[in-house]
């Protein structure tokens, strides 16, 4: 962090000038500045997704305001950030092997237990990683996983699904996530860097917390995790922000790099305030025999638009892709998952579960692609949605693009209210209607909650879900 960061301010809006100022503020090396400019160039060349763009037509950008945003507000030097109480409790959880706290655009606090530290694990904010470990950041940072130079969705040609619902012709000239990944590449700040050296197995989960409250701040957090050969680690990330009237913009990226035999459990939990438009591009690269559990939890934001791409590049890779979401009010969640089988003999197993009440709307669009060479792939996908009000709505769109002939692939989607027979069963035991609904919805999410390895976070999530159910 530059010494005088707190005293300088960026102009509002996104511009080349703002990038130059940001790089200067951070005192960044030239290569980082050059990459920002390259990304900015692409951002300017790429149009905003059109209303009829196949991957954007369910999320209108008409109300998105980018002009008033400020791309960078550093954490105050020398002061303790005023984190909400629930975050402080989570941050102090002794069962975590390390904690990173990001406040507004920069890292504010870092702790790593002795054991992982002595074994060469690096766990710090991305600005620090760029300064201190450029050789570890440079090869991976937006070069292989989340990139703004390749439109990975434009080439997709999913076949008609069993339900016959697909409009046909693939995604055509979709912008995919390029526009916002490029903007992210131009303005990223703070974020999490985690590096686990070869063969190092870390048992205690690590966690990072990101919180922002600065007016008009646009957030560009970037998570980069590199797990070397045979290494194993768990990271839990929580995102939250202060409730505020004005619209806010968050545009994050997550890159998960798993080398041969690496094992990663990654949890991405988002409970942002209801004024935030949250865009996120996340990609996992899985080498041979790598093992990944990747869970996303979406509770907050006004609008969430997520692209989650799992690239199985090595034989024997095994990915469990899990998600839960709970929308209320007018929340709008639009999530794309991509089980991208590049190498054969790999497994991906996806389960996304959502509950929606009030006027909430969710889209789950899950693409399974099996490349011609990816024989003996196993790809499974299930999306379950519970509608808790007549005005809530969920679209579930499984899409298959299978080009190999020796694969096992299943997909299933359900959308509907709580089963009235389940309700009757619980009520016939004396449990009132609202409590019965609550039990069923909590139970619906429980198998996913049980995956989360820190009890303090599990409790926090359970609380958040109970609040949403409204008791």
């Amino acid at each position: 962090m530059a010494n005088n960061a707190a005293t300088l301010e960026l102009e509002t809006g996104f511009s080349k000038n703002a990038i130059d100022a940001l790089s200067q503020l951070k005192n960044e090396p030239d290569w980082v500045h050059a990459r920002r400019l390259e990304a900015w160039h692409l951002y300017e060349e790429t149009p905003l997704p059109a209303p009829n763009d196949e991957l954007w037509r369910r999320t209108s950008l008409a109300d998105l305001k980018l002009d008033a945003a400020i791309a960078f507000v550093p954490a105050m030097n020398g002061t303790t950030p005023s984190l909400p109480e629930k975050f402080q409790q989570i941050a102090n959880d002794a069962n975590a092997g390390g904690v990173l706290v990001q406040y507004n655009s920069t890292g504010a606090y870092a702790r790593l237990a002795d054991q992982p530290s002595k074994r060469g694990v690096i766990f710090c904010d991305l600005d620090a990683a760029i300064r201190e470990h450029p050789d570890l950041v440079k090869p991976y940072f937006m070069t292989q996983a989340v990139t703004y130079s390749e439109n990975r969705y434009a080439s997709a040609k999913p076949s008609t699904t069993k339900s016959g619902k697909h409009e046909g012709g693939g995604y055509g000239n979709t912008i995919g996530d390029m526009k916002f990944a490029a903007l992210h590449g131009a303005f990223f700040s703070g974020g999490t860097f985690l590096y686990v050296p070869r063969g190092v197995v870390i048992d205690l989960p690590l966690q990072s917390l990101t919180y922002f409250d600065a007016p008009n701040l646009a957030m560009f957090t970037h998570t980069l995790i590199v797990v070397e050969e045979g290494a194993a680690v768990t990271l839990i990330e929580n995102y939250a922000s202060k409730e505020n009237q004005a619209q806010r913009f968050s545009n994050g990226a997550v890159e998960l790099i798993l080398k041969p035999g690496a094992s990663l459990r990654y949890f991405h939990l988002q409970d942002l305030a209801r004024n935030v438009w949250h865009f996120t591009s996340q990609t996992a690269l899985m080498d041979k025999d790598a093992s990944l559990t990747w869970l996303t939890g979406t509770l907050g934001s006004a609008v969430t638009k997520a692209f989650l791409d799992c690239k199985l590049q090595g034989a024997g890779a095994n990915a469990a892709l899990l998600g839960f979401f709970f929308g209320d009010g007018k929340q709008h969640f639009d999530q794309h998952t991509f089980q991208n089988h590049i190498a054969g003999h790999a497994t991906s197993d996806l389960l996304y579960k959502g509950a929606l009440k009030d006027n909430a709307y969710s889209v789950f669009r899950g693409l399974i692609r099996v490349n011609p060479d990816a024989q003996r792939s196993d790809a499974y996908q299930a999306n379950r949605n519970i509608l808790l009000s007549q005005h809530a709505h969920a679209d579930s769109i499984p899409e298959l693009e299978i080009e190999a002939n020796d694969v096992r692939c299943t997909h299933g989607a359900t959308v509907g209210p709580i089963d009235p027979e389940q309700m009757f069963y619980l009520m016939a035991r004396g449990i009132p209607k609202v409590a019965a609904e609550r039990l069923i919805v909590e139970g619906f999410f429980d198998p996913l909650m049980q995956k989360i390895p820190l009890e303090s976070i599990r409790e926090e999530l359970t609380q958040a879900i109970q609040t949403k159910i409204g008791m």
Binding site: M427, R429, G430, I440, G443, D446
Partner: protein
């Protein structure tokens, strides 16, 4: 009067179709009644109607519990006041453990029963002790406490867990809807012993069954035969044996309503 369940001229429709055509039956505490009858005669409709399933519409008649009509009570209120239905097909509730479900149900019942001194929520250790004791009665392994309710249970396990619920909730009036169906002989014995252990002067039981088999284990004082949505024949325990011998067609030909 006070400790009776009275079914009076009960007519019930399901999706516009009349299933029950005037049932009259009084069950006192301490009594065990069995309703037998062929498939489709309306036995399960009666069970679900008593428990308050919203799909079953009462078009005529009344159900009185301790002198009060229960027609306006929801399923939850009926259960809180001590009416219990052991389901023919218990629902799986994935994600909700047996223990969590039972404690929630027990606390709802305690809260509603109010003034009898047990209206406070049960403490977790006290609940655990109660549950484990009742699980022993049903020969259920302790591990069932943390399993998701009926999720992946065998037919016999589901029925044993139904009676476990009955044992924990301690109702005053229980309807057992084909609790014997789908049970092998060992499971039938365990379930029956469970019911017998709970039966007594403070419990009224309505046992609904297609087969005579369960009556080798549970001994009702009264047997009723349901045919075409009516109780066509009523009598003592000997009636079950007659039925076993002569079949339901005998009742259809010779039946008459006994009040």
């Amino acid at each position: 009067m006070s400790d009776e369940l009275v079914i009076r001229n009960l007519h019930v429709q399901v999706e516009g179709k009349e299933i029950l055509n005037g049932i009259d039956l009084t069950i006192r505490k301490g009594e065990i009644h069995a309703i037998m009858g062929p498939n489709g005669s309306g036995k399960s409709t009666l069970a679900n109607t008593l428990a308050g399933h919203p799909k079953y519409q009462i078009t005529k008649g009344d159900i009185l519990y301790k002198g009060e009509s229960i027609l306006e009570w929801g399923a939850d209120v009926r259960a809180q006041k001590g009416i219990f239905l052991a389901f023919q097909y218990p629902m799986a509730i994935p994600g909700v453990t047996v223990a969590n479900f039972l404690r929630t149900a027990l606390n709802a019942r305690r809260k509603a029963t109010g003034s009898n001194g047990s209206s406070k929520a049960i403490s977790i250790p006290e609940f655990r002790k109660l549950m484990l004791q009742k699980m022993q009665l049903l020969k259920l392994d302790q591990s069932f406490a943390t399993r998701y309710l009926n999720d992946g249970f065998s037919g016999g396990e589901k029925k044993r867990v139904e009676i476990l619920q009955m044992a924990v909730l301690n109702p005053e009036f229980a309807v057992l809807d084909e609790t014997d169906s789908g049970l092998d002989i060992d499971a039938l014995r365990i379930v029956s012993e469970g019911v017998n252990a709970l039966a007594g002067p403070n419990l009224g039981v309505l046992l609904i069954t297609h087969y005579q088999r369960i009556l080798n284990y549970i001994k009702p004082q009264f047997i009723h035969v349901m045919v075409g949505g009516r109780l066509a024949l009523s009598g003592g325990p000997e009636l079950a044996l007659q039925l076993e011998e002569k079949g339901y067609d005998w009742v259809k030909e010779n039946g008459h309503v006994v009040k």
